[in-house]
């Protein structure tokens, strides 16, 4: 069974690979597979980017996605075994209501192959200065900076389209 998001966050990452920001076309099925032929695929109206890394030979993926004009942001962490993904957590911001929050699956009952676990829980991220309250411009840079901070990935250099390592 997959470890929890907190464990992954604190673990030493290897083989970190960061894709480019992509927009205007639907996410390919191979980016964030869930189970069997099912994948999580955002439409081209989103701007998204995939970061993959390994912890002790276990494979993990972080899908970053945002819609700056709606102030929508998501960083989804998944543990991938073959084509079977266990989504450990989704850190989100919605422009429709205030407050950063995390949806996560508790350790004992993590479901693989689904975005929404049967026992998924939610909690607010609290007053964390990393998140800020309003980000209208520079969303790409800001989003990746947040994601690297959240998951303790090697820090971004700031450019949205270059390899961050």
């Amino acid at each position: 069974m997959a470890k929890g998001a907190a464990w992954v966050r604190s673990a030493e990452k290897e083989e970190v690979s960061t894709g480019s920001w992509t927009t205007g076309k639907r996410m390919p099925k191979t980016i964030f597979p869930l189970r069997g032929s099912h994948s999580y695929r955002l439409a081209g109206t989103w701007t998204w980017r995939l970061i993959s890394f390994a912890v002790s030979s276990e494979q993990y993926r972080v899908l970053l996605a945002h819609k700056a004009e709606k102030q929508e942001f998501m960083a989804m962490l998944g543990h991938l075994v073959d084509r079977d993904m266990t989504v450990l957590c989704r850190i989100e911001h919605h422009g429709s209501h205030p407050g950063w929050h995390v949806h996560y699956q508790p350790y004992e009952t993590k479901q693989s192959g689904v975005i929404i676990g049967a026992d998924a829980r939610k909690r607010a991220c609290g007053l964390d200065s990393r998140f800020g309250t309003s980000v209208v411009s520079g969303f790409d840079d800001w989003a990746i900076s947040i994601a690297h901070s959240l998951f303790k990935l090697p820090h971004a250099r700031g450019s949205s389209d270059e390899n961050l390592l």
Partner: protein, 261 residues
């Protein structure tokens, strides 16, 4: 009372100015606990607005197994959205209304929010159905394969002394020890199986045989799987070798120790 209701409904409504127009959230909640929200986009060059979701719902719905290529599914989704004069865009995977005037936003927003909550429920229902296929598949296959005198009890106790420990399936054949079968999709199920095995250890020849069928090899932690393999009477893995996994259960039931009927 009306004032109190209005206050309860309206206190949690929030409107936030955004680059696209306005973000609106309400007192209703989506399945994961987020306030149901939408966006008022506009005004366009003609002064009109449209209401739109965030664009998360449909990707989640499709990922849960809801196939939009199916005409029936497409119609079902459309019928929910029609209640709010809304439709979905198959390319953009967004739900939106047509152009409306600014003064019409509140009335349309309420109807669209209700429709979005219904779609959100659909995501969970679809995911639940996908998850439950494993147990249903096994139950049906065993019903077709086991001898007709084997009774199949769902979510039932295998032993009167441990009535609170309920197995997914209890297979009873007259004159033989019952078989408690746990259809394991997570660690908890296997832990419960091991508890039943432990609690019934001293029951002698009438003790139930405790077995587990894992949905997939990695459905449970390696540690729990190892413990289960060393403690339960039988453990199998379903996905990837379904026929043999079921045959093993059938054979196990047939070979259960004989007991006084």
């Amino acid at each position: 009372m009306k004032q109190e209701l209005c206050k309860a409904f309206c206190d949690s409504v929030s409107v936030t100015e955004l680059p696209c127009g306005f973000g609106i959230s309400t007192t209703l909640f989506e399945i994961e606990g987020d306030p149901a929200g939408l966006y008022a986009i506009g005004p366009d060059s003609t002064g009109h607005w449209k209401l739109e979701d965030a664009g998360r719902l449909l990707p989640s719905l499709i990922a849960s197994g809801y196939d939009l290529a199916s005409e029936n599914r497409k119609k079902a989704l459309a019928s929910i959205l029609e209640t709010a004069d809304a439709a979905f865009d198959e390319d953009g995977l967004e739900i939106s209304t047509g152009p409306i005037s600014k003064s019409d936003i509140p009335a349309h927003a309420i109807r669209l929010i209700v429709a979005l909550v219904r779609v959100s429920d659909l995501v969970q229902m679809t995911a639940d159905r996908v998850r439950s296929t494993f147990k249903e598949d096994v139950r049906m296959a065993l019903a077709a394969s086991l001898p007709s005198d084997v009774e199949i009890h769902e979510n039932a106790p295998a032993d009167d002394q441990s009535a609170d420990l309920r197995a997914d399936l209890v297979l009873r054949q007259s004159g033989r020890a019952p078989v408690a079968l746990y259809l394991a999709q997570n660690d908890l199920s296997l832990v419960e199986a091991m508890l039943l095995r432990s609690e019934t250890q001293g029951a002698g020849e009438t003790r139930p045989l405790v077995t587990a069928l894992l949905e997939r090899e990695n459905a449970v932690s390696k540690h729990t799987r190892t413990r289960a393999m060393n403690r339960l009477d039988s453990v199998g893995v379903y996905e990837g070798d379904e026929r043999q996994a079921l045959a093993k259960v059938v054979q196990f039931v047939s070979n259960a120790p004989k007991v006084a009927a």
